[in-house]
Protein backbone atom coordinates (compact mmCIF):
# COMPACT_ATOMS: atom_id res chain seq x y z
CA UNK A 1 0.00 0.00 0.00
CA UNK A 2 0.99 3.62 -0.40
CA UNK A 3 1.17 5.92 2.57
CA UNK A 4 2.14 9.55 2.83
CA UNK A 5 4.28 10.23 5.89
CA UNK A 6 5.52 13.74 6.59
CA UNK A 7 4.67 14.78 3.02
CA UNK A 8 6.72 11.94 1.55
CA UNK A 9 5.05 9.04 -0.22
CA UNK A 10 6.12 5.54 0.75
CA UNK A 11 5.33 2.09 -0.58
CA UNK A 12 4.74 -0.23 2.39
CA UNK A 13 4.99 -4.01 2.33
CA UNK A 14 3.98 -4.92 5.87
CA UNK A 15 0.79 -7.06 6.18
CA UNK A 16 -2.46 -5.05 6.29
CA UNK A 17 -3.13 -5.65 9.99
CA UNK A 18 0.30 -4.36 10.99
CA UNK A 19 -0.12 -1.37 13.28
CA UNK A 20 0.88 2.00 11.88
CA UNK A 21 3.29 2.23 14.81
CA UNK A 22 5.13 -0.96 13.82
CA UNK A 23 5.23 0.07 10.15
CA UNK A 24 6.59 3.54 10.97
CA UNK A 25 9.26 2.29 13.32
CA UNK A 26 10.29 -0.97 11.72
CA UNK A 27 9.70 -0.47 8.01
CA UNK A 28 10.26 3.28 7.62
CA UNK A 29 12.68 3.78 10.52
CA UNK A 30 10.63 6.72 11.82
CA UNK A 31 11.15 6.35 15.54
CA UNK A 32 9.60 9.40 17.22
CA UNK A 33 6.36 7.44 17.89
CA UNK A 34 7.28 5.27 20.87
CA UNK A 35 6.15 1.70 21.40
CA UNK A 36 5.18 1.94 25.05
CA UNK A 37 2.24 -0.33 25.69
CA UNK A 38 1.08 -1.34 22.20
CA UNK A 39 -2.50 -1.30 23.45
CA UNK A 40 -3.61 2.31 23.32
CA UNK A 41 -3.02 3.11 26.97
CA UNK A 42 0.16 5.15 27.18
CA UNK A 43 -0.21 7.68 24.36
CA UNK A 44 3.49 7.68 23.43
CA UNK A 45 2.80 6.45 19.89
CA UNK A 46 0.38 9.27 19.01
CA UNK A 47 0.69 10.65 15.48
CA UNK A 48 -1.56 12.76 13.25
CA UNK A 49 -3.73 10.95 10.72
CA UNK A 50 -5.06 13.56 8.31
CA UNK A 51 -4.36 16.13 11.00
CA UNK A 52 -6.14 14.35 13.86
CA UNK A 53 -4.35 12.77 16.80
CA UNK A 54 -4.50 8.96 16.75
CA UNK A 55 -2.80 6.15 18.59
CA UNK A 56 -0.63 4.64 15.87
CA UNK A 57 -0.57 1.30 17.72
CA UNK A 58 -4.36 1.01 17.35
CA UNK A 59 -4.59 1.80 13.64
CA UNK A 60 -3.83 -0.98 11.14
CA UNK A 61 -2.35 -0.14 7.77
CA UNK A 62 -5.48 -1.44 6.06
CA UNK A 63 -7.46 1.47 7.52
CA UNK A 64 -5.04 4.10 6.22
CA UNK A 65 -5.24 3.88 2.44
CA UNK A 66 -4.99 7.40 1.04
CA UNK A 67 -4.31 9.12 4.37
CA UNK A 68 -1.51 11.47 5.32
CA UNK A 69 0.50 10.83 8.48
CA UNK A 70 2.46 13.39 10.47
CA UNK A 71 5.00 12.49 13.14
CA UNK A 72 7.34 14.66 15.18
CA UNK A 73 9.88 14.34 12.36
CA UNK A 74 7.41 16.20 10.15
CA UNK A 75 6.71 19.10 12.53
CA UNK A 76 9.98 20.95 12.38
CA UNK A 77 13.73 20.64 12.17
CA UNK A 78 16.36 21.22 14.84
CA UNK A 79 16.91 24.76 13.58
CA UNK A 80 13.25 25.36 12.70
CA UNK A 81 11.08 24.05 15.52
CA UNK A 82 7.29 24.09 15.43
CA UNK A 83 5.66 26.36 18.04
CA UNK A 84 4.80 23.39 20.27
CA UNK A 85 8.32 21.97 20.00
CA UNK A 86 9.83 25.39 20.78
CA UNK A 87 7.51 25.79 23.76
CA UNK A 88 8.56 22.37 25.11
CA UNK A 89 12.19 23.45 24.79
CA UNK A 90 11.63 26.84 26.43
CA UNK A 91 9.67 25.37 29.33
CA UNK A 92 11.99 22.40 29.77
CA UNK A 93 8.96 20.12 29.37
CA UNK A 94 10.63 16.96 28.14
CA UNK A 95 11.05 15.06 31.42
CA UNK A 96 12.51 11.63 30.59
CA UNK A 97 11.42 12.09 26.99
CA UNK A 98 9.67 8.81 26.29
CA UNK A 99 6.15 10.32 26.41
CA UNK A 100 7.24 13.60 24.77
CA UNK A 101 6.46 12.69 21.16
CA UNK A 102 2.90 11.78 22.14
CA UNK A 103 2.46 14.96 24.19
CA UNK A 104 3.79 17.10 21.34
CA UNK A 105 1.49 15.50 18.76
CA UNK A 106 -1.58 15.68 21.03
CA UNK A 107 -0.84 19.33 21.82
CA UNK A 108 -0.30 20.13 18.14
CA UNK A 109 -3.65 18.56 17.24
CA UNK A 110 -5.40 20.37 20.11
CA UNK A 111 -4.13 23.82 19.11
CA UNK A 112 -5.04 23.07 15.52
CA UNK A 113 -8.67 22.22 16.36
CA UNK A 114 -9.06 24.70 19.22
CA UNK A 115 -6.73 27.64 18.62
CA UNK A 116 -7.97 29.31 21.81
CA UNK A 117 -7.63 26.23 24.00
CA UNK A 118 -7.60 27.13 27.69
CA UNK A 119 -6.10 25.31 30.63
CA UNK A 120 -9.06 22.94 31.09
CA UNK A 121 -9.04 22.01 27.40
CA UNK A 122 -5.32 21.36 27.63
CA UNK A 123 -5.59 19.17 30.72
CA UNK A 124 -8.34 17.15 29.06
CA UNK A 125 -6.48 16.83 25.76
CA UNK A 126 -3.25 15.73 27.43
CA UNK A 127 -4.90 13.37 29.89
CA UNK A 128 -4.26 10.30 27.78
CA UNK A 129 -0.53 10.89 27.86
CA UNK A 130 0.42 11.16 31.52
CA UNK A 131 3.04 8.59 32.42
CA UNK A 132 5.06 8.03 35.54
CA UNK A 133 7.41 10.97 35.85
CA UNK A 134 4.66 13.05 37.51
CA UNK A 135 5.10 16.81 37.61
CA UNK A 136 3.26 17.78 34.46
CA UNK A 137 3.34 21.47 35.35
CA UNK A 138 5.99 22.29 32.77
CA UNK A 139 4.26 20.35 30.02
CA UNK A 140 0.96 22.13 30.67
CA UNK A 141 2.78 25.48 30.83
CA UNK A 142 4.46 24.75 27.50
CA UNK A 143 1.17 23.92 25.79
CA UNK A 144 -0.52 26.98 27.33
CA UNK A 145 2.31 29.13 25.95
CA UNK A 146 2.05 27.52 22.52
CA UNK A 147 -1.72 28.05 22.49
CA UNK A 148 -1.21 31.74 23.31
CA UNK A 149 1.51 32.11 20.71
CA UNK A 150 3.96 32.97 23.48
CA UNK A 151 6.90 31.08 22.02
CA UNK A 152 10.25 32.18 20.66
CA UNK A 153 11.67 29.53 18.34
CA UNK A 154 14.38 31.92 17.22
CA UNK A 155 15.87 31.82 20.71
CA UNK A 156 16.21 28.05 20.76
CA UNK A 157 19.80 27.05 20.25
CA UNK A 158 19.89 24.03 18.01
CA UNK A 159 22.04 21.20 19.20
CA UNK A 160 22.92 19.02 16.25
CA UNK A 161 25.57 16.90 17.89
CA UNK A 162 24.53 14.94 20.97
CA UNK A 163 27.07 15.64 23.66
CA UNK A 164 29.36 12.78 24.53
CA UNK A 165 28.32 11.47 27.91
CA UNK A 166 31.05 11.40 30.52
CA UNK A 167 31.45 7.85 31.74
CA UNK A 168 32.57 7.96 35.35
CA UNK A 169 32.66 4.23 35.90
CA UNK A 170 33.92 2.25 32.90
CA UNK A 171 31.29 -0.20 31.64
CA UNK A 172 28.36 1.55 33.33
CA UNK A 173 25.65 3.42 31.47
CA UNK A 174 26.27 7.13 31.76
Amino acid sequence: MRLTVNDEEHELHSPPLTSLLAALREELDITSPKAGCNQGGCGACTVLVDGEARRSCLVPLAALEGTSITTVEGLGAADDLSPVQAAFDEHYAAQCGFCTSGFVMAATALIDREPKAGREDILEALSGHVCRCTGYVKIVAAVEAAAKGDVHPEQVEPSFEPEEAEVLIPGSPA
Binding site: P15, P16, L17, S19, C57, L58, A106, L110, A125
Partner: protein, 269 residues
Protein backbone atom coordinates in the same frame (compact mmCIF):
# COMPACT_ATOMS: atom_id res chain seq x y z
CA UNK B 1 -14.92 -2.98 -2.62
CA UNK B 2 -11.22 -3.46 -2.10
CA UNK B 3 -9.90 -6.76 -0.93
CA UNK B 4 -6.35 -7.28 0.24
CA UNK B 5 -4.99 -10.71 0.83
CA UNK B 6 -1.58 -10.91 2.49
CA UNK B 7 0.17 -13.50 4.57
CA UNK B 8 -1.52 -12.62 7.84
CA UNK B 9 -5.15 -12.21 6.98
CA UNK B 10 -7.67 -11.44 4.30
CA UNK B 11 -8.95 -7.93 4.86
CA UNK B 12 -12.26 -7.02 3.29
CA UNK B 13 -13.24 -3.35 3.12
CA UNK B 14 -16.90 -3.00 2.09
CA UNK B 15 -17.79 0.36 0.57
CA UNK B 16 -21.49 0.32 1.47
CA UNK B 17 -23.91 -0.96 4.08
CA UNK B 18 -25.29 -3.60 1.71
CA UNK B 19 -21.82 -4.81 0.86
CA UNK B 20 -20.98 -5.05 4.56
CA UNK B 21 -24.10 -7.12 5.24
CA UNK B 22 -23.35 -9.41 2.28
CA UNK B 23 -19.69 -9.91 3.25
CA UNK B 24 -20.68 -10.57 6.87
CA UNK B 25 -23.15 -13.27 5.85
CA UNK B 26 -23.88 -15.40 8.90
CA UNK B 27 -20.73 -14.10 10.57
CA UNK B 28 -18.90 -17.42 10.69
CA UNK B 29 -15.16 -16.99 10.36
CA UNK B 30 -15.51 -13.20 10.17
CA UNK B 31 -13.74 -10.84 12.55
CA UNK B 32 -15.55 -7.49 12.49
CA UNK B 33 -13.17 -4.54 12.78
CA UNK B 34 -14.88 -1.30 13.81
CA UNK B 35 -12.73 1.29 15.64
CA UNK B 36 -10.01 -1.18 16.54
CA UNK B 37 -9.38 0.01 20.09
CA UNK B 38 -10.10 -3.45 21.49
CA UNK B 39 -9.05 -5.62 18.53
CA UNK B 40 -5.67 -4.04 17.78
CA UNK B 41 -4.06 -4.86 21.15
CA UNK B 42 -5.15 -8.49 20.62
CA UNK B 43 -3.56 -8.49 17.16
CA UNK B 44 -0.44 -6.59 18.27
CA UNK B 45 0.27 -9.14 20.96
CA UNK B 46 -0.51 -12.13 18.75
CA UNK B 47 -3.46 -13.26 20.85
CA UNK B 48 -5.77 -12.89 17.85
CA UNK B 49 -4.81 -14.10 14.39
CA UNK B 50 -7.92 -13.44 12.34
CA UNK B 51 -8.35 -15.26 9.05
CA UNK B 52 -10.85 -12.86 7.54
CA UNK B 53 -11.38 -9.29 8.72
CA UNK B 54 -14.34 -7.14 7.81
CA UNK B 55 -13.17 -3.54 8.12
CA UNK B 56 -16.17 -1.25 8.39
CA UNK B 57 -14.57 2.19 8.14
CA UNK B 58 -15.90 2.91 4.63
CA UNK B 59 -19.22 1.06 4.90
CA UNK B 60 -21.31 4.16 5.47
CA UNK B 61 -22.48 2.99 8.87
CA UNK B 62 -21.66 6.15 10.82
CA UNK B 63 -23.68 9.23 11.58
CA UNK B 64 -26.55 10.44 13.72
CA UNK B 65 -29.96 11.16 12.22
CA UNK B 66 -33.27 12.12 13.77
CA UNK B 67 -36.76 11.10 12.82
CA UNK B 68 -39.52 12.64 14.90
CA UNK B 69 -38.55 12.27 18.54
CA UNK B 70 -36.08 9.43 17.97
CA UNK B 71 -32.39 9.43 17.11
CA UNK B 72 -30.85 6.85 14.81
CA UNK B 73 -27.15 6.31 15.40
CA UNK B 74 -25.02 4.31 12.98
CA UNK B 75 -22.89 1.51 14.39
CA UNK B 76 -19.64 3.16 13.24
CA UNK B 77 -20.45 6.49 14.92
CA UNK B 78 -17.51 7.25 17.20
CA UNK B 79 -17.74 7.72 20.95
CA UNK B 80 -16.50 11.29 20.40
CA UNK B 81 -19.50 12.00 18.16
CA UNK B 82 -21.78 10.91 21.04
CA UNK B 83 -20.36 13.39 23.55
CA UNK B 84 -23.33 15.71 22.97
CA UNK B 85 -25.93 12.95 22.58
CA UNK B 86 -29.03 13.02 24.81
CA UNK B 87 -28.30 12.25 28.45
CA UNK B 88 -27.26 9.94 29.97
CA UNK B 89 -25.53 8.81 26.75
CA UNK B 90 -23.62 12.09 26.43
CA UNK B 91 -22.15 11.93 29.94
CA UNK B 92 -21.31 8.27 29.47
CA UNK B 93 -19.50 8.99 26.21
CA UNK B 94 -17.54 11.86 27.74
CA UNK B 95 -16.36 9.53 30.50
CA UNK B 96 -14.79 7.07 28.08
CA UNK B 97 -10.98 7.11 28.11
CA UNK B 98 -9.33 10.12 26.43
CA UNK B 99 -9.73 12.26 23.34
CA UNK B 100 -7.87 9.97 20.94
CA UNK B 101 -9.62 6.79 22.06
CA UNK B 102 -13.06 8.44 21.92
CA UNK B 103 -12.29 9.58 18.38
CA UNK B 104 -11.58 5.99 17.36
CA UNK B 105 -13.87 3.73 19.40
CA UNK B 106 -17.35 3.18 17.99
CA UNK B 107 -20.87 2.66 19.27
CA UNK B 108 -21.12 -0.75 17.58
CA UNK B 109 -17.81 -1.89 18.99
CA UNK B 110 -18.86 -0.76 22.44
CA UNK B 111 -22.06 -2.78 22.21
CA UNK B 112 -20.15 -5.90 21.20
CA UNK B 113 -17.19 -5.44 23.55
CA UNK B 114 -16.35 -8.55 25.52
CA UNK B 115 -15.04 -8.13 29.03
CA UNK B 116 -11.26 -7.95 29.22
CA UNK B 117 -9.31 -9.44 32.11
CA UNK B 118 -12.61 -9.78 33.94
CA UNK B 119 -13.41 -6.09 33.54
CA UNK B 120 -16.52 -5.08 31.58
CA UNK B 121 -15.67 -2.76 28.68
CA UNK B 122 -18.95 -1.67 27.13
CA UNK B 123 -19.25 1.65 28.94
CA UNK B 124 -22.06 2.95 26.71
CA UNK B 125 -24.33 -0.05 27.27
CA UNK B 126 -25.98 1.11 30.50
CA UNK B 127 -27.00 4.41 28.92
CA UNK B 128 -28.55 2.64 25.95
CA UNK B 129 -30.46 0.31 28.29
CA UNK B 130 -31.82 3.26 30.29
CA UNK B 131 -32.82 5.02 27.08
CA UNK B 132 -34.83 2.01 25.86
CA UNK B 133 -32.64 1.79 22.76
CA UNK B 134 -33.29 -0.76 20.06
CA UNK B 135 -30.53 -2.37 17.99
CA UNK B 136 -30.81 -3.24 14.31
CA UNK B 137 -28.53 -6.07 13.27
CA UNK B 138 -27.95 -8.29 10.25
CA UNK B 139 -27.06 -11.96 10.21
CA UNK B 140 -28.15 -15.44 9.23
CA UNK B 141 -31.89 -14.76 9.15
CA UNK B 142 -31.66 -11.30 7.66
CA UNK B 143 -32.12 -8.05 9.56
CA UNK B 144 -33.86 -7.71 12.89
CA UNK B 145 -34.46 -5.08 15.53
CA UNK B 146 -34.53 -5.90 19.22
CA UNK B 147 -34.27 -4.17 22.62
CA UNK B 148 -30.66 -3.40 23.46
CA UNK B 149 -30.74 -5.43 26.68
CA UNK B 150 -31.76 -8.53 24.70
CA UNK B 151 -28.95 -7.98 22.22
CA UNK B 152 -26.40 -7.50 25.01
CA UNK B 153 -27.60 -10.56 26.92
CA UNK B 154 -27.41 -12.78 23.82
CA UNK B 155 -24.02 -11.45 22.72
CA UNK B 156 -22.96 -10.35 19.26
CA UNK B 157 -22.21 -13.82 17.88
CA UNK B 158 -23.41 -14.05 14.31
CA UNK B 159 -24.90 -10.54 14.27
CA UNK B 160 -23.55 -7.43 12.60
CA UNK B 161 -24.71 -4.26 14.36
CA UNK B 162 -26.03 -1.72 11.84
CA UNK B 163 -27.63 1.00 13.92
CA UNK B 164 -29.16 1.92 17.25
CA UNK B 165 -32.33 3.90 17.75
CA UNK B 166 -33.10 5.85 20.91
CA UNK B 167 -36.28 7.72 21.75
CA UNK B 168 -35.78 11.23 23.13
CA UNK B 169 -36.02 10.81 26.94
CA UNK B 170 -38.30 12.98 29.07
CA UNK B 171 -35.81 13.05 31.90
CA UNK B 172 -32.46 11.45 32.53
CA UNK B 173 -29.97 10.84 35.31
CA UNK B 174 -26.41 9.61 35.66
CA UNK B 175 -24.04 8.68 38.46
CA UNK B 176 -20.65 7.00 38.18
CA UNK B 177 -17.61 6.08 40.22
CA UNK B 178 -14.62 7.37 38.34
CA UNK B 179 -10.90 7.42 38.76
CA UNK B 180 -9.99 10.79 37.27
CA UNK B 181 -7.22 10.69 34.69
CA UNK B 182 -6.70 6.95 35.13
CA UNK B 183 -8.75 6.28 32.00
CA UNK B 184 -9.65 2.83 33.17
CA UNK B 185 -12.93 1.26 32.23
CA UNK B 186 -15.80 2.37 34.42
CA UNK B 187 -15.77 0.90 37.91
CA UNK B 188 -19.52 1.34 38.23
CA UNK B 189 -22.01 3.59 36.47
CA UNK B 190 -25.76 3.90 36.79
CA UNK B 191 -27.90 5.44 34.07
CA UNK B 192 -31.57 6.33 34.44
CA UNK B 193 -34.05 7.74 31.97
CA UNK B 194 -37.76 8.28 31.78
CA UNK B 195 -39.27 7.37 28.45
CA UNK B 196 -42.88 6.75 27.44
CA UNK B 197 -42.41 3.27 28.95
CA UNK B 198 -41.61 4.69 32.39
CA UNK B 199 -38.35 4.94 34.29
CA UNK B 200 -35.61 2.58 33.19
CA UNK B 201 -32.30 1.95 34.94
CA UNK B 202 -29.10 0.51 33.42
CA UNK B 203 -25.94 -0.51 35.26
CA UNK B 204 -22.39 -0.74 33.89
CA UNK B 205 -19.60 -2.40 35.83
CA UNK B 206 -21.52 -4.95 37.87
CA UNK B 207 -21.21 -7.91 35.52
CA UNK B 208 -19.54 -8.98 32.29
CA UNK B 209 -21.96 -6.76 30.39
CA UNK B 210 -24.31 -3.97 31.37
CA UNK B 211 -27.67 -4.97 32.76
CA UNK B 212 -31.12 -3.59 33.34
CA UNK B 213 -32.17 -3.05 36.96
CA UNK B 214 -35.71 -4.35 36.69
CA UNK B 215 -36.26 -4.70 40.45
CA UNK B 216 -35.44 -1.02 40.90
CA UNK B 217 -37.71 -0.05 38.02
CA UNK B 218 -40.59 -2.19 39.38
CA UNK B 219 -40.22 -0.67 42.85
CA UNK B 220 -40.39 2.84 41.40
CA UNK B 221 -43.41 1.94 39.28
CA UNK B 222 -45.05 0.58 42.43
CA UNK B 223 -44.62 3.90 44.19
CA UNK B 224 -41.55 3.17 46.30
CA UNK B 225 -39.34 6.05 47.39
CA UNK B 226 -36.04 6.59 45.59
CA UNK B 227 -34.21 5.43 48.72
CA UNK B 228 -36.19 2.17 48.95
CA UNK B 229 -36.10 1.51 45.21
CA UNK B 230 -32.33 1.96 45.17
CA UNK B 231 -31.91 -0.83 47.74
CA UNK B 232 -33.63 -3.25 45.37
CA UNK B 233 -30.58 -3.16 43.11
CA UNK B 234 -29.13 -5.95 45.26
CA UNK B 235 -31.64 -8.23 43.50
CA UNK B 236 -30.55 -7.04 40.05
CA UNK B 237 -26.79 -7.35 40.12
CA UNK B 238 -24.12 -9.46 41.73
CA UNK B 239 -21.01 -7.33 41.58
CA UNK B 240 -17.69 -9.02 40.90
CA UNK B 241 -14.05 -8.63 41.86
CA UNK B 242 -11.68 -7.35 39.22
CA UNK B 243 -8.55 -5.24 38.93
CA UNK B 244 -10.56 -2.01 39.26
CA UNK B 245 -12.54 -2.74 42.43
CA UNK B 246 -13.67 -5.50 44.76
CA UNK B 247 -17.15 -7.00 44.82
CA UNK B 248 -17.37 -5.81 48.46
CA UNK B 249 -16.79 -2.20 47.38
CA UNK B 250 -19.14 -2.42 44.42
CA UNK B 251 -21.95 -3.92 46.53
CA UNK B 252 -21.82 -0.95 48.89
CA UNK B 253 -21.41 1.63 46.16
CA UNK B 254 -24.09 0.36 43.80
CA UNK B 255 -27.24 1.39 45.77
CA UNK B 256 -25.66 4.80 46.41
CA UNK B 257 -25.11 5.37 42.69
CA UNK B 258 -28.63 4.16 41.89
CA UNK B 259 -30.02 6.69 44.38
CA UNK B 260 -27.84 9.46 42.92
CA UNK B 261 -28.86 8.66 39.35
CA UNK B 262 -32.53 8.65 40.35
CA UNK B 263 -32.11 11.93 42.26
CA UNK B 264 -30.43 13.36 39.17
CA UNK B 265 -33.47 12.19 37.21
CA UNK B 266 -35.68 14.14 39.58
CA UNK B 267 -33.94 17.29 38.40
CA UNK B 268 -35.93 17.05 35.18
CA UNK B 269 -32.93 17.50 32.90
Amino acid sequence: MTSTSLEAAQVVVPMSRDEAVKEFGDGSGVTVFAGGTILMPEINYGRLKPARVLMLGNAGLSGIGSSGSALTIGAMTTVAELENAPEPLGSTARNVADHEIRAQGTLGGNLCAPSGGGTPRGDLQAALIALAATVKTAGKDGERTEPVEDFIAAGANGRLVLEVEIPEPKRSGYAAARRPHAHAYTILAVCAAETSAGVRVGISGAGATAQRARHVEDALAGGASVEDAAQKVADDAEPHDDALASAWYRQRLLPVLVRRALDDLGGGK
